[in-house]
């Protein structure tokens, strides 16, 4: 019997398994697949044996350990956090920007700097379409960046927008990516398919820490019960010290216990083992430890992963774009523990789904057998 084609395998092993993260990696390259209302939809059947959709997907079988070794300095690799060349706290030096940002405004400040210094021409960030649904949005004007600074805990199909960028412009595009999107971009950088895809250059990737995202359509229904139109939702956050999700619109702020949020979490996020965007050049998250909550809210934790990331941070120091301070004692350990816990839960859920400790679904050669590493 004929081996099912790439698109059929994507459907069987990812979409039907509820492993789709909605990252958009399989979309934007052909007429067969689109993202519609947060779902990856196969409009028509494609019968190619191999295709970019299957190859780029972060949830098709991948040896992420090997990929890390290819893309990063093996000496930087850690079990819990992937490559770590540097770790510190940071916030945008521009206080105005910080006010409009999720936490410290570090991501926006770094993109702005990269743009000002000509490292990138365009930033690819999470925006919204006319219906208020998230979509990858290209921003070429530094002044507009702050408008995209808030987080909404919903994956935008950013990689689909990346797929639509002309190959020649990709090197000069800075991308803000969730862990799954950073994984997809890492696969795009390295994937080779006979006769159709070569390893492609990908510009600067700024990763976001991510514990889970929400299933957008389900969550939209919930918001409507609270009379918050989805399009009016300005930001979400989990303030340190509370087990609550904070929802902010221009009209009101709501707090929802995380236990209640749980059922709105995207199913695919339960099978994720990367909470710190291990495949980014620089990863940024909220500061969570070592200070009083009020103060922490204004700061980011930053992991520098690649040489390219290191250069950007160096530039930020020189140009004064960021205020940088050493992370408090124990912060790295706490972050590692949190990341290891996410991995443990993810693996547990994967094994529960596959029914076997030997079948880790999309994770090839994963786990202790894949080789111990020195912790830094």
């Amino acid at each position: 019997m004929k081996q099912p084609g790439a698109q059929a395998r994507l459907k069987k092993y990812v979409l039907r398994q509820s492993l789709c993260t909605g990252c958009g990696a399989c979309v934007g390259m052909c007429p067969y697949q689109v993202i519609y209302k947060d779902r990856t939809v196969q409009l028509f059947d494609c019968d190619l044996p191999e295709g970019r959709c299957y190859t780029f997907c972060p949830r098709t079988p991948t040896d992420y350990n090997a990929l890390e070794k290819t893309l990063f300095d093996p000496r930087d690799l850690t079990d819990e956090l992937g490559p770590v060349r540097g770790f510190f706290l940071a916030r945008a030096a521009d206080a105005g920007l910080r006010l409009r940002a999720q936490h410290g405004g570090t991501v926006t400040a770094l993109l702005g700097l990269a743009m000002a210094e000509g490292l990138i021409d365009t930033a690819l960030v999470s925006g919204r379409n006319d219906e208020g649904e998230p979509q990858g949005t290209l921003v070429a004007d530094k002044g507009e960046l702050a408008g995209y600074a808030k987080s909404r805990f919903i994956v935008s199909p950013t990689v689909a927008a990346f797929n639509r960028i002309d190959a020649k412009d990709r090197e000069k595009t800075g991308i803000v990516a969730t862990p799954c999107q950073a994984q997809a971009l890492a696969k795009i950088r390295t994937a080779v398919i006979d006769g159709c895809s070569q390893a492609q250059s990908v510009g600067l990737v700024i990763g976001l820490f991510c514990g889970w995202t929400l299933a957008a359509e389900k969550f939209r229904g919930l918001l409507e019960r609270f009379f918050i139109p989805f399009a009016d939702l300005d930001a979400m956050d989990i303030p340190p010290g509370f087990n609550m999700l904070e929802l902010r619109s221009s009209e009101k702020t709501l707090l929802m216990p995380l236990d209640e949020v749980d059922e709105y979490v995207r199913g695919a996020c339960r099978y994720c083992v990367d909470s710190t965007a291990q495949f980014a050049d620089v990863s940024v998250g909220a500061a969570r430890c070592g200070m009083d909550p009020g103060e922490m809210r204004g700061w980011n934790q930053v992991i520098v992963r690649s040489l390219r990331g290191e250069k950007l941070i160096e530039l930020a120091r020189q140009k004064g774009a960021l205020e940088i301070r050493e992370a408090p004692a124990g912060a790295l350990r706490e972050l590692k523990e949190a990341a290891a816990e996410k991995k443990r839960q993810g693996l547990e859920n994967i094994v529960a789904k596959s029914g076997s400790k030997k079948n880790l679904l999309y994770l090839k050669n994963y786990g202790p057998a894949a080789g111990k590493r020195e912790n830094r």
Partner: protein, 646 residues
């Protein structure tokens, strides 16, 4: 001069359906009605062409039941009238027919059913001959083109003799084949219409036209059937040919008579086998049968589809077995002939050869080898929509909407060119899993939509064509709206009864007689029902897709989308191109990842062809109708269009 008006004694090559029309004219027809349906449509079309000269009223009615009602009104008023339909049209007309036979008729009234054994242009192999027996209606079946004319003419006389409706049945190979017919005189006088109803209730000529008192009128009708039997005994249209004592007697009717003659000639058995050709197949004339069944011990009944004639002959033979002896019957019941599909001379020759232990002559091996070679040259063709067909664009939109919605919605199909979406699923992008009779798609959709409480929670759609909408969809649509069935109902309005040859329908401002008549607007009808209505152009892929996707997501009752775009073969479009379309080969991705031949592999317009050597799509400009839809589906913008000649 229109050949239908050829002079007395002239010999004219007539299509079977034209011969029927000529027969009706010779009988002094005044009113002809029908609903288009292959293979019947040419009867009404050819009569419409001479309506002005012959002072006829001819109409394409909304459906077959109404057609028969309109024709019956003429009969009630003393005029000769005819209602014409295809086999399943008789089903539609049958409720009225049951009551009509009970009330009786006045002026000669003939129901013409042109049937389609083998379902060459049908989605059924319906048999209306059983209606003759079930409803007790005389049945006539012509066996050649001269008979098609002469029997039709006689049918009117018979109808007036018994004051009831007579059915004339033809089949595709009679209706759509041609043969020489010697014409008789066309009458010069015409009747005046007069409707009387003041007489006694039991007097069908002056009393009210009603079916009651039922039992009394039923008895009266059965007595009249005795008259029919007596007339059938003497009918010159029933003939025996062959030796006085044949080794095998073949009883047959209709075009099967021609097949039998050809089969006997192929087998060289003309001197051994006799043929009883019957034109009056219900009720059968018993004495005629008795005389002929006596001739042989073995009887073969040759007819198409169901064993109607066989059953009736056997019933008579068993009653007269004491006089004619016990016969051995061959036919459908013993499997000598198939009870499904068309017959042809080869099948009949095999059947007769089997009984007579004679092998049909086979062509020489060299001939068969040549045939095999020639057959290999015939390109494989699938059933598909024509180039530029609006239905392709409509189903493309439907497929997209179903996929985007994500709940595995489906379409209930209906009768028209768009039936192809069910007959050849890839043509309808695998969206249409049901197909039954006219209007049934909407009825079924309304039913599926009520099953969510039982766990069937998929969006349900129905499609129908513009002509089908008027024919039988409206009651189903009202039912869905009234019972709050949440359906998306799509009218594929291609501005005519396209499949049968662009006959007008109530949505168009023109009649069968080319008069200007009021058009009944589908959108207004739907709004009148209370349904939500939108109108779009299926060639506008984005606009149509958006409406459909919104409809599927929207909870409610009946949501109507009328997709308006004229058929690519319609007279106003034929030979003209809105756009000249070509492929920019530099941009064409071909079968690479990113396209994988979307236009030739999935969209599959016959004008888009795949050059497998150069791995590029090519527009066949001879076939291309210039609709330009493929331009909007190409992911590479490699299909480009320029203004055409329309």
């Amino acid at each position: 001069m229109n050949k239908l008006l050829s002079p007395d004694k002239s010999t004219v090559l007539f299509l079977g359906n034209e011969a029927i029309a000529r027969g009706a004219l010779e009988a002094g027809l005044a009113v002809a009605t029908g609903y288009p349906g292959t293979p019947s449509s040419e009867v009404i079309e050819s009569l419409a062409g001479v309506a002005a000269r012959r002072n006829l009223y001819v109409e394409w009615s909304v459906n077959e039941k109404v057609a028969l009602e309109v024709a019956a009104a003429a009969s009630f008023s003393g005029l000769r009238a005819m209602a014409v339909m295809k086999q399943n049209g008789v089903n539609v007309a049958s409720d009225f027919l049951l009551h009509l036979i009970a009330s009786g008729t006045r002026g000669g009234l003939v129901l013409v059913s042109c049937e389609d054994p083998g379902a060459l242009s049908s989605v059924n192999e319906g048999e209306s001959r059983y209606f003759a027996r079930m409803l007790e209606m005389p049945l006539l079946e012509p066996a050649d083109f001269q008979e098609a004319k002469d029997l039709t003419k006689w049918a009117f006389e018979l109808s007036e003799e018994i004051r009831n409706v007579v059915m004339l049945r033809s089949v595709t190979r009679m209706s759509h084949a041609s043969g020489n017919v010697v014409c008789a005189k066309l009458p010069t006088k015409s009747r005046r219409a007069k409707f009387e109803y003041d007489g006694p209730v039991m007097d069908s000529q002056t009393g009210p036209m009603i079916s009651t008192p039922v039992v009394a009128k039923h008895r009266l009708h059965q007595e009249k059937l005795k008259t029919v039997e007596a007339l059938f005994e003497k009918s010159p249209f029933n003939r025996y040919s062959g030796p006085a004592k044949p080794k095998l007697l073949v009883v047959t009717s209709s075009v099967c008579f021609l097949y039998v003659r050809e089969a006997l000639s192929m087998l060289g058995l003309e001197r051994d086998v006799g043929i009883l050709k019957l034109a009056t197949t219900w009720p059968l004339p018993p004495r005629l049968l008795e005389r002929n069944l006596q001739r042989a011990e073995k009887i073969l009944v040759v007819e198409e589809v169901l064993p109607f004639l066989e059953e009736n002959v056997k019933v008579l033979a068993s009653a007269m077995a004491g006089r004619i002896g016990v016969k051995t019957f061959f036919g459908k019941y013993d499997g000598t002939l198939p009870a499904a599909g068309e017959l042809n001379p080869d099948i009949v020759a095999r059947a007769i050869g089997g009984i007579m232990k004679v092998k049909p002559k086979t062509p020489p091996a060299s001939y068969l080898a040549e045939v095999k070679k020639a057959a290999a040259l015939i390109p494989a063709r699938e059933q598909t929509f024509c180039a530029g067909c609006p239905h392709r664009a409509s189903f493309w939109n439907i497929r997209r909407a179903i996929a985007l919605d994500g709940r595995e919605g489906f379409v209930c199909g209906d009768i028209g060119c768009y039936s192809m979406a069910a007959l050849s699923p890839a043509t309808g992008y695998n969206t249409m899993p049901t197909l039954h009779s006219m209007g049934s798609g909407t009825g079924l959709a309304g039913g599926f939509a009520k099953l969510s409480a039982f766990g069937l929670d998929k969006p349900v759609m129905a499609v129908c064509g513009d002509s089908t909408f008027y024919h039988a969809v409206i009651p189903a649509l009202i039912n869905a709206q009234h019972n709050r069935a949440d359906i998306t109902f799509i009218v594929l309005d291609n501005a005519g009864t396209a499949m049968t040859g662009f006959q007008p329908h109530p949505g168009l401002p023109v009649s069968a007689l080319k008069e200007t008549v009021p058009a009944v607007d589908i959108a207004c009808v739907c709004r009148g029902i209370g349904a939500k209505v939108a109108v779009a152009d299926p060639f506008d892929i984005d606009g149509t897709s958006k409406i459909l996707t919104d409809y599927l997501a929207e909870k409610g009752s009946v949501k109507v989308l009328i997709l308006r775009q004229a058929c690519a073969l319609s007279p106003e479009k034929k030979g003209k191109k809105t756009f000249n379309v070509r492929v920019n080969e530099e941009l064409c991705l071909g079968d690479a990842c990113g396209c994988n031949r979307l236009c030739t592999r999935v969209f599959r317009c016959p004008a888009l062809t795949w050059d497998s050597a150069r791995k590029k799509a090519v527009v066949d400009e001879v076939i291309c109708a210039g609709c330009g839809v493929c331009v909007s589906i190409c992911p590479q913008n490699a299909i480009v269009k320029a203004q055409g000649n329309m």
